[in-house]
Amino acid sequence: MTTPDRGLVLIDSEECKGCALCFEACPPKVLRFGELLNRYGYRSAAYAGAGCTGCGICFFACPEPGAITVLRREGRVCQNN
């Protein structure tokens, strides 16, 4: 049993232009390029799937209006173990 991550990041791959600024910004370095190209031909960012702290800095570093959404886990207890 592992403690679930404090945060979660969602990336709208259609809005992302693959500039990679969020990879740099992310302190735990859990953002990277995804596998697929989006419909505009950009290889968009993707969440590694674990390790997000919910700090939110990637949201501010991202130049696109809504490409990144950051969520934080509610409460203090593990909810999905």
């Binding site: 979660l8 302190p27 949201f59 809504g66 969520l71 934080r72």
Partner: protein, 486 residues
Amino acid sequence: MPDLTIPGYTVVHEKPRSFYPVCERKPEMQHQTHYCPGCGHGIAHKLIAVAIDELGIQDRTVLISPVGCSVFAYYYFDTGNIQVAHGRAPAVATAVKRSRPESIVIAYQGDGDLAAIGAAEILHAANRGEPITVIFINNGTYGMTGGQMAPTTLIGQTTTTTPFGRNVWNEGYPLHVSELLASLEAPVYVERVGLGSNKQIMNAARAVRRAIENQVKGLGFSLVEILSPCPTIWKMNPVEAQRRVLEETVKTFPLGQFRDRTKSAPARPAAAPVPLFAEIPAILGLANGASPAAKTMRSGETIDWRVRVAGFGGQGVLMLGEVLAEAGLDAGFEVSWLPSYGPEMRSGTSNCHVRLSSKPIDSPLVLHPNVLLAMNEPSLRKFLAPVEPGGWVFYNGTEIPQGCAGRLDVHFIARPFAEIAGNAGDARSANMTMLGALLEATGMLAEERVLAALRRRVSSGHWLEVDRRALDGGREAVTKGVRHES
């Protein structure tokens, strides 16, 4: 917007409400802004949108978009928007703020826009202490037009117009806008921030919010200069460009607050309330404030008088036009009056364009008049040719000068109008004799409209009487005088 709820998690950062859900500009690009990947404009937009959301002012914000890469900001911000001519954002922001003091006006400008073509506007808006917010994007280049030198281009930086690097002996030094504006008395808040690192970006977010909040609090002029990456023109990838801001740009443009009177500045006195539209005629002293609407016009009739009045400066050419336009307005016409004169206050030539129309006026220019009032010979020679066939030509002189008699397709009324005015009381009211002749011959306007307009313009009782007699003299010259009609 997509539903992003996930059980057990709360959304902490998402697309600000102050952005439109989709980018409407191009049907095939609804998910994406037009900015290059990694462009600082996008980040600056986000900081503004977040601040608008946080301050709860979306419904009263008016964003002024510039010319430059951010020309389409109005496609992204779901607020009031005005897109303005290059460099003029501070002037338009001033107008919006003054006419709608409750609005929150944010002028968004690049460095070519603000510091080059618009240098005068920003300087004076700041110096007047206009209570607006200016977000100034310093990316050291003209991005949109392909990378020319901006006033903020770094020394040695190559651009398309400084192919060997900016040379201070040829192009001068980078312009420090924040420092310059902070040397003025009026600004309340001037800060330079960067987008070169996480820390810089969060600091920029604070500054942008502060600059907008100052306006919400009713304080004065606030400006945030944002050192912003332009990866495309800098020929770097977005990460390198961001690092350049952090490591290079800040050496020339140190970050910091250059003015902060946010705490000590008094709230500005409230602007005088803007009068209601309906009150304006009364404020201007126009009759009863009521519109006299189209009493002289039969409904459905299309009238389009295009008048050119021309003569020497001092002959009352412009005044004749003004009286005509004002009487026309009074009679319910759409009117325009456009003066055109040289730099001389007296002598020199002068002319004006007047339109009286039953339809909205597209342009105040009268290039093909159907009425010409020529108060001297050079004016007749100059303006006769474009008079429309069937039009009216009134000429101050008895003889139609050589070379002008060929227009058989117009009504020609040549009279010694100055002399007639002299006989009526004063030769200086020749403009009024010509106006009298015009009214008599064409029936353009009812006498009482013209007299009312004259009364508003001429304060001296003596001159009013002289003008009235001159008008009559002009009318008589048409009905009784020798007609030089062709």
